[in-house]
């Protein structure tokens, strides 16, 4: 194994750069080092001006998503040795405006997430908490995988539809809507469908399935989107056949 590997890192400083540039750094190639370890080596030892987000370095906080050799990855869970002998291209996630270097702007997702009402909605108006809502392990399993989303944005980076139509609400938000719809404690499916049936909702998706493929937590947003399209189609048939009050 060679003892170093070259990182080709995208740099962009809005104060001085008119467009992104590529900068090369050679970093030690060690078997336990992730791409993030390589970037931190650069930050601490070589070039203190390189900017990127990271925090937990155990694949759960969702901060450190970047495109590595063109694929969206959590850099804390992507090992340099898998790219030996290199070089490795490290770029900001695609489909987002770049703030600086490897940092992208998540405003759009953060602003739209509340629209799918990702919280428990109840028909009853329980204010006093005196016992749990029962939920069997089977009922938990029904939504469990959709609850594993860490909001890392890799699916948005991989989504060809989001790249072309930024009004598309996107895979993670739809997966979270489905997470609550499938929760036996929730009664909010109707309200969420009203949101997702709108133009920016599920219709943009063409079932490419890239979102599911790149998800580091094995969530299936493509499946969630497909289910919503079916629900939405049923609704439009009902809307056509039935007068409004009986729906």
């Amino acid at each position: 194994m060679p003892d170093s590997i070259r990182l080709e890192v995208t740099r962009y400083r809005p104060d001085t750069d008119s467009e992104p540039q590529r900068q090369e750094y050679d970093v030690p190639l060690r078997k336990e080092w992730t791409v993030l370890d390589g970037l931190n080596h650069v930050k601490n030892e070589v070039d203190t001006t390189l900017s990127f987000r990271w925090s937990c370095r155990m694949g759960i906080c969702g901060s450190c998503g970047m495109n590595v050799d063109g694929e969206p990855k959590l850099t804390c869970a992507t090992f340099l040795t898998d790219y030996a002998p290199g070089p490795v291209r490290v770029e900001p996630l695609a489909n987002f405006p770049v703030v600086r270097d490897l940092v992208v702007d998540l405003f759009d997702f953060m602003e739209r997430l509340p629209r799918v009402k990702p919280w428990i909605i109840r028909d009853d108006d329980v204010t006093e908490v005196d016992g749990e809502y029962l939920q069997t392990p089977e009922e938990l399993d029904a939504y469990k995988q959709f609850s594993m989303c860490i909001n890392c944005m890799l699916c948005y980076s991989a989504c060809p539809v989001y790249g072309l139509d930024p009004t598309f609400i996107g895979p993670a938000a739809i997966a979270l809507a489905e997470r609550y719809d499938l929760d036996s404690r929730d009664h909010g499916a109707r309200e969420r469908l009203d949101v997702l049936i709108e133009h920016e909702g599920v219709w943009g998706c063409t079932f490419v399935g890239e979102c599911t493929r790149v998800c580091p937590k094995h969530v299936d947003p493509a499946g969630a989107i497909q289910r919503y399209k079916l629900k939405a189609a049923k609704e439009s048939v009902k809307a056509f056949l039935l007068p409004r009050g009986t729906r």
């Binding site: 400083r13 203190t48 987000r53 906080c61 703030v99 609850s147």
Partner: protein
Amino acid sequence: MSDSLVRAAHDVLIVGGGGAGLRAAIAIAETNPQLDVAVISKVYPMRSHTVSAEGGAAGVIAADDTLDEHIYDTISGSDWLGDQDAIEAFAHEAPRELLQLEHWGCPWSRQPDGHIAVRAFGGMKKMRTWFAADKTGFHMLHTLFQTSLKYNEVTRYDEVFVTRLLVDDGRVHGAVAVGLMTGKIQAVTGKAVILCTGGCGKVFPFTTNANINTGDGMSLAYRAGAPLKDMEFVQYHPTGLPFTGILITEATRAEGGWLLNKDGYRYLQDYDLGKPSPTPELRSMELGPRDRLSQAFVHEVEKGRTSDSPWGPVVHLDLRHLGEQVIDTRLPFVRELCLKYERIDPVHELIPVRPVVHYMMGGVHTDIDGATPVAGLYAAGETACVSINGANRLGSNSLPELLVFGARAGRAAAEYASAARAAPAVIEAQAADEVRRLERDVMGREPGTERISTIRDDMQATMEEAAGIYRTGPAMAKGADALAELQQRLLKAGVADTSRSFNTELTAALELANMLDIGECILRSGLEREESRGAHQRLDFPDRDDRRFLIHHLVHRNPDETPRVAPLPVTITRWPPGERIYGR
């Protein structure tokens, strides 16, 4: 006030958007929807370190359990340094808070009949730890974050770093903060401020803590005139992965995992923690408290009974006998982490582990409602020290703590803010001072030869040397001198990055200044405590000394910026100091 300097005025300003901060925000919105609440956080809330908690959250719910038992376990776990009135309130309110999370959608693991499932945990005499497989903190944080989105009265400032609290005449009035996207420095006023910034594990080199855990709230409070309490008590978790320091949850041992030395021997039986049995016994062996287990590791190293790794001595955690099904349903994240970061499968292989800095028992001194001695300033979660954890926190008490005391601080701050007046004009001059300090003294400094990362490395090495699992007076004194030198070096280290946009070198410099404060407080408190209690073990004072040290330590900041340590009585209600007994 001029518009450019003061960005917005709120009733309550919460610094930190993790579990405690979000719980406080929701409590305020529910207590008084008229109040305008803002959450200001240096990361997006769902990136907060609550996300990394694995094992579970303790709250009495099982038919065979009682509140008094949870209280007693917590008190004995704390080596009698926890305040018993706070612990009683905590144990009483924890189950309701956990149920509230259930109603908000937290995917708690269940029994076949649909009721909440509980598991065993270290130092707990009954099964009372609620869990969401082994991603409990992740699910709690996302549940709180998503639920918080339905409250329109909560404003969020994401990726905004607070550099100073605005205090006049003993009252807090807001904060000055840098917006990371733009680099803009502005004041945000609040009639009350709640600090919920989490822990400070990054003071040490080897920690389970995330990059963001730099003790910002502790340092903000300390500089604003609020004392820090019990800072000498730093928890080493006995089972971290070598190199990364990634946490392998105590739930592995609750499910029946064994700790083995290099001879395959369950060495804990040699340290007054009970006798080995094939299935886990509560408050015994691998289910002993974290302080005692981490200390046992050090003795195994001394006896030459640990294995060598490139990252120092290790022991092994054996889960093989649990079988694939138990591991996949109860500990799936542990398997994922081991496969990813150690390239081993715990279904078939031993996991190398060693003690790792995990949690700060100390923090901002608060009363039982989260209030600090500075009027209007509150703290909750790991940032705060109420104290329920005393000299050693029990696993699975920190998650319910951030709920119980996040909600309490929220309600108390809401009440205070309802009666408080708007910020006085003098605050603007303070804000202008802070802008000048940041622009001239930090940003404007010529980059010298010294790097922030070098000083940080030296600080971490100093703290590991001086304030590890076993300590001595001379080592702590030497460490304190070294930190003083590092303070001076930091004043000379420049920030090479001149960009305003997302300048992480600037944040790192400010975080390092915070951590140097905290390191100093840890060592000064540790020097004063001439006894061994819980996580503070002194080779030169090996015994617990209730006559002199059944007290908390408050560290105040003198006008000349040096620390001053003062005693505070421990509150004892029904449980007089006794022997900590495990496994017998």
